[in-house]
């Protein structure tokens, strides 16, 4: 199964934070990691505010093809 983008962002972000919190990263590396971290943070925050997903209902037509119709809730 492919990992979803938000999980990927969070996973990398957690790695970066752990690396930055260790002692053996030099300043150059730290800055690079920080910039990468900020990018993941931004993309994760965008996904957090994504628009509402659709609500649908499955219908199978006579030929056995599945179709989705919008469901009013």
């Amino acid at each position: 199964m492919t990992i979803d983008p938000l999980s990927a962002d969070l996973k990398r972000l957690e790695e970066i934070v752990r690396l930055l919190e260790r002692d053996d990263v030099d300043l150059d590396q730290a800055l690079t990691l920080f910039e990468e971290g900020v990018r993941h943070l931004k993309s994760a925050k965008e996904r957090l505010t994504e628009a509402e997903g659709r609500v649908e209902r499955v219908l199978e037509d006579a030929s056995g093809v599945l179709r989705l119709t919008e469901l009013d809730d």
């Binding site: 199964m1 979803d4 938000l6 999980s7 969070l10 972000l13 957690e14 970066i16 934070v17 690396l19 930055l20 919190e21 002692d23 990263v25 030099d26 300043l27 730290a30 800055l31 990691l33 920080f34 971290g37 900020v38 943070l41 994760a44 925050k45 996904r47 957090l48 994504e50 628009a51 509402e52 997903g53 659709r54 609500v55 649908e56 209902r57 499955v58 199978e60 599945l66 989705l68 469901l71 809730d73």
Partner: protein, 411 residues
């Protein structure tokens, strides 16, 4: 055989088909009659006549009765009839339960179930069989038929590994689309949507309608669960049942439904039981929830939680970088410190050496020696008088003592 010889059966429905002549008295072979001669005085029965006579006799013998025994070899036919034997230690009898009656029981008893069967014994002439026409059956013990079926299906599923905890799959952390297999009446899907909108609105919800109780429920559910595998992008499936009769969970204990749940390619959450009633579907699914709302809460992350987690990561990220720069500047400071300390200690050493040197200079100063009562004699040319031959008698010299010089002459 309990046929009462010589008595015509009551309720003689087939009287018109009987031989019109006088009935031969059964057991009329009186004394003196040779056993094997064909009695000319009474016509032979046709097979059908005899079968019908026996049927009457059998039906009259007990009428509808309860019989207690073990159900074995039950076969269900497409028309809905059940055929089986009922037995005890010594005997067994063929039984049939016509669709009308079988439908009321819904689920056939498992092999070997001990039951009370309400039935009318009869003879089925076409097959030459003595048979019980069943009307209903009850379990003999406190363990209900449904429970027996449940246990039996559970054993089968367990044997096939469908209940193995190792089979349980983790749920996707952020599902893109959830297929909800439930009734189309709107209650369950509404509950799920309410929770989904609050927790994680971005996820698509797809209703896959199926009747969840009644005779069509099993087929409907199997079909709907099959459809889930044909939907793109779905990464989680919820099987849910709203309200409804508390004891009407049978469809979710049916083996075909359990197998269909196991065959769903994405992780499954089952929300069909009650707090106290676990269904087999619950056991086969990857996760069980008490209600449809609880299923939605398990399926979807809470946006507020994720936001908090992100905020904490953001602050640790910033903190991490500050930490890095602080460590760097502390390292510089420490390096500076070391240099300063090195310089200081070197200077200190120099100062000490200087002091030692200065004090030794002081010790060597001739004035200090003179201060202790010594004097220095110098000739006129300034050279220090060290040996006698430097000063024959009459040689003038100066004697330097601590507070001045005295003019003197050798004698």
């Amino acid at each position: 055989m309990v046929r009462k010889r010589g008595q015509p059966a009551p309720d003689d429905l087939f009287g018109e088909r009987r031989p019109s002549g006088p009935r031969p008295a059964a057991g009329s072979g009186g004394p003196g009659t040779p056993g094997a001669t064909v009695p000319a005085a009474r016509p032979a029965y046709s097979v059908t006549e005899l079968a019908l006579t026996l049927k009457d006799a059998v039906e009259a013998a007990t009428g509808q009765v309860w019989v207690k025994g073990e159900v074995i070899g039950l076969k269900t036919y497409e028309a809905g009839h059940w055929y089986f034997n009922i037995k005890d230690e010594a005997s067994q009898l063929r039984c049939v339960m016509w669709r009308t009656y079988a439908q009321r029981l819904r689920t056939p008893p498992p092999e070997g179930a001990d039951v009370y069967l309400l039935a009318t014994p009869t003879v089925w002439g076409q097959r030459g069989e003595l048979r019980l026409n069943g009307v209903t059956m009850l379990p003999t013990s406190g363990v209900g038929l449904q429970q027996l079926t449940f246990e039996r299906t559970r054993e089968v599923l367990e044997r096939d590994g469908l209940l193995d905890p190792a089979r349980k799959r983790p749920l996707p952390p952020f599902p893109r689309a959830i297929a909800v297999v439930t009734s189309a009446d709107g209650v369950v899907i509404h509950d799920i949507l309410t929770v989904a909108r609050r927790r994680w609105p971005a996820t698509r919800i797809i209703l896959v309608p199926a009747r969840v109780q009644g005779d069509e429920a099993v087929d409907d559910l199997v079909t709907a669960l099959g459809m889930v595998n044909r939907l793109d992008d779905v990464d989680l499936c919820i099987v849910a049942r709203g309200g409804g009769a508390r004891d009407d969970l049978q469809a979710f204990n049916a083996e075909p439904v359990c197998r269909a749940v196991a065959a769903v390619m994405v992780p499954t959450i089952s929300a069909v039981g009650h707090e106290t009633d676990i269904t087999l579907t619950d056991l086969v699914a990857d996760l069980r929830a008490a209600t449809p709302s609880a299923a939605a809460a398990l399926a979807l992350p809470d946006r507020a939680d994720v936001a908090r987690h992100l905020a904490s990561l953001a602050s640790r990220l910033g903190g991490g970088l500050r930490g890095r720069t602080r460590v760097q500047s502390e390292r510089l400071a420490r390096a500076g410190d070391r240099a300063r300390r090195a310089i200081e200690s070197r200077m200190e050493e120099r100062r000490r050496r200087w002091e030692r040197f200065a004090s030794s200079l002081d010790a060597l100063s001739p004035l200090a020696v003179l201060g202790r009562g010594y004097g220095v004699a110098r000739l006129a040319d300034g050279s220090v008088l060290r040996r006698k031959e430097q000063a024959p008698p009459g040689t003038p010299f100066g004697l330097r003592i601590s507070d001045g010089e005295i003019a003197a002459r050798a004698e």
